[in-house]
Symmetry: none
DNA sequence: CGGACGCATCAAGATCGCGTCAAGACCGAC
DNA sequence: GTCGGTCTTGACGCGATCTTGATGCGTCCG
């Protein structure tokens, strides 16, 4: 996982830039994965669990900022955005969405490499971030996207997992409908009903008695929270 | 997710830039320390243990890269370098010396703020709590929406909680019917009767003897207040 | 002493938010 | 294209919660 040999996922649709990065990085000992669309990126990210993302903002199928927000939700690896857009507003948006750094094209290879070293240095220094959350009978492994209740594995759909992870990372605290919608469905979502349906599904899978939940608690009129105290 | 209140040490010898940073940061709720030399910076860093460094490279008494390397050795807070030197080589040196980010002057305030947020996010030292109010036997945790009296948990409905939180945040002060109505029921509410009914309910749940309240006191003709003195 | 006023309490009806089910839309895999 | 899984959307019942009105009590003041 240290700098040489680190697995880098390059998300970039321009072949020229891809070739340039491939040459620069592999000669330095990095291993490379390449994606040209957000969809591909997600797939590779789940299947290969890379150590670092290099992300172009101008993807054909989805805004890069959205992809950033999504990845940041469950992947622990650092994200460096590479973009031709140099406007301050673009930088702020990307960084606030969860990017760890932002380089404006054109940039020098050495600067990129230096910033990659910084990012990987951080990742090593903060090992806690991704891995494992345990609350009561529940275990959530965000790197492996794996969930168990009392040791029994439970299969969750992507949305269910995102929702559960959000709750688990804030165990005990109440998350409002608005917060949940924004984090799981993106900033434009408004239908609080989404949350109810997915929550029902989650309960069906995680709770012994979905009608009398012990894990996923409702705060009427406000939102939901994951129970984090088990002293009974 | 921002971290207002973080303590930032600005190391910069040009008064103009210092003034600019002071204005930009303190208006955002950051607390500021200022140093104009490396020596001063070291002193303040030891004595005040800041959450973040903003570091100019061109210091009068020592090269900024050296200072970076030194700080990185023993201080855990992130270091953002601000420099007029835009050469790639300078960036690489500073980053490899231990800086977490590098901005070339002139830069936009918003970008700086965004990168500061990223740095502080990494540091993760942000407690984010502090949503706890304690008055006498009463404890109100707004993040968890949890209320206890003498350690015993009490379940409140949304309106009850809103009302109690309002009183708790203004413990000791008298809140008029009008204020309470506006805050809890919205700006158009007029029925002072709402308040009475909900207050009765609150007392039923919080007071030992609802008829002789010790917490939720009535100020006849004016409004209500939460008792905040407990020297009995 | 009696009436007016403000407050507390109770209970009943109306309302709101939640959980659930199910049908259709969408999407990726084959 | 078809198929299976997943997400969106709508409808509905139920219970919790809020609103509203009625009633009684205490205090202040005429």
């Amino acid at each position: 996982m240290s700098s040489p040999g680190a697995l880098v996922l390059v998300v970039e649709d321009e072949p020229q830039v891809r070739r340039f990065l491939r040459a620069s990085l592999s000669s330095r000992g990095y291993r490379l994965l390449e994606a040209t669309t957000a969809r591909e990126a997600r797939q590779l990210a789940t299947s290969h669990n890379p150590d670092l993302f290099l992300l172009d903002l101008g993807l054909p199928d989805e805004d890069g900022v959205e992809l950033t927000r999504d990845l940041r939700g469950w992947a622990s690896a650092p994200i460096i955005v590479l973009s031709a857009r140099g406007r301050e507003e673009d930088k702020v948006k990307a960084l606030d969405a969860g990017a760890d750094d932002y380089l404006t094209k054109p940039f020098g290879v050495n600067e990129l490499l230096a910033r990659m070293r910084v990012a990987l240095r951080h990742a090593r220094a903060v090992p806690t971030e991704g891995a494992l959350i345990e609350v009561g009978p529940l275990r959530v492994d965000s790197a492996r996207r794996e969930v168990t209740v009392d040791g029994v594995e439970v299969r969750l759909t992507p949305t269910e997992f995102k929702l559960l992870l959000l709750l688990a990372r804030n165990a005990g605290k109440v998350l409002t409908h608005g917060m949940i919608l924004r984090e799981v469905w993106g900033p434009n979502a408004t239908q609080a009903h989404y949350v109810r349906v997915q929550m029902a599904e989650l309960r069906r899978k995680l709770e012994q008695d979905p009608a009398r939940p012990r894990l996923l608690l409702t705060e009427v009129g406000v939102g939901y929270r994951l129970r984090d105290r088990w002293d009974d």
